[in-house]
């Protein structure tokens, strides 16, 4: 392999590595399921990774796709499913750890959908973290 090419690849690799680990909070696998047009609400799921040493919290979510977006948790107890908003502190993401928003557990409840949730559609979600501040991520509508 030629020397200049090796140099360019090295720089690219280092840049990619830096981008991958620089941010304290990384959000991946942001998605929601296609939802009947007649359904008032939808849900979004994601995985949040905290690369910092200290605990952070996802405090709130906003999106043009939702009249209001709330952080909720579905909980199963003796076969009875209940769903309630998480408390004001938000969703905890431990330092060096992660929080999974997933089906049947923590999720973003998209109240009063403002758009059709059809497969292939994408929506911006604005996530507000206690320490890391605000970041915008893209949610994809897909079947699972």
């Amino acid at each position: 392999m030629s020397r200049p090419l090796v140099g360019i690849l090295t720089v690219l690799a280092l840049t990619a590595a830096a981008c991958g680990s620089d941010a304290d909070i990384e959000v991946s696998d942001v998605w929601g399921r296609p939802s009947p047009a007649v359904a008032t609400n939808g849900a979004f799921y994601m995985v949040i990774t905290n690369n910092a040493d200290t605990t952070d919290h996802l405090i709130s979510v906003a999106s043009d796709a939702c009249g209001v977006a709330e952080l909720h948790e579905s909980m199963m107890s003796d076969g009875v499913m209940s769903m309630s908003p998480v408390d004001a502190a938000g969703i905890e993401v431990p330092g060096g750890g992660r929080a999974a928003l997933e089906v049947g557990g923590l999720h973003v409840m998209c109240v009063d959908k403002q758009a059709d949730f059809v497969a292939g559609e994408t929506f911006d979600l604005s996530l507000e973290f206690d320490n890391a501040g605000t970041m915008v991520v893209e949610a994809e509508i897909r079947e699972g």
């Binding site: 009947p36 359904a39 008032t40 309630s84």
Partner: protein, 214 residues
Amino acid sequence: MTDTPIAEEPTPPPSRSPWRYALVALPLVIAGLVFWWGYNRAQPHQFSGAVIQGVSAAPDFTLSSDRGPVSLSDYEGKVVLLYFGYTFCPDVCPTTLFDVAGAVEDLSDDEAEDVQLVFVTIDPARDTAERLGQYVRHFDGRFVGVTGTEEEIGSVATLYGIYYRAGEGTEATGYLMEHTATLLVVDRNGNLKLVIPFGVQSDAMASDIRYMLR
């Protein structure tokens, strides 16, 4: 690559050797398959939910859909999946319907013909028959959604041991329902046979349904 000659040719194996291996291996493979088939047939079907032992007749009821009244007895001879939920629910109810739709899709057309999902709302104040119909048909055009008065829904839920209650919500959501989130399966003879908990995947559900259709 260049055309440098290879220093040493590997010794070619004796030409009839692969066939000899095949002659030995083939009967072994056949014996293995026969054993595996027999073993599987001898095993009882492993259901993905809790099996209701004995005969427990599923109580009949009549509620309203956007296409007219629906009674459980309309589906006599079919496997009926009963789910009590509400359309305002963003997470668990649509996931369950999505999984059931996936299971029905896994079945052959003939099998699917003999399966009926009935979604009973536990939130009749918000779920009209029209809303329910459009909601359930998003998942599968054959699904049926039914509603009734608070009293009618309450008595059907009681018959099937379904708990529900309006719980606290937020300003934006209003109340949120708490409800038993299991899928009840009625067999071809009209007996309540299986209770599938939330979270069972489509393929496991399809396997249970297929077994019950036999």
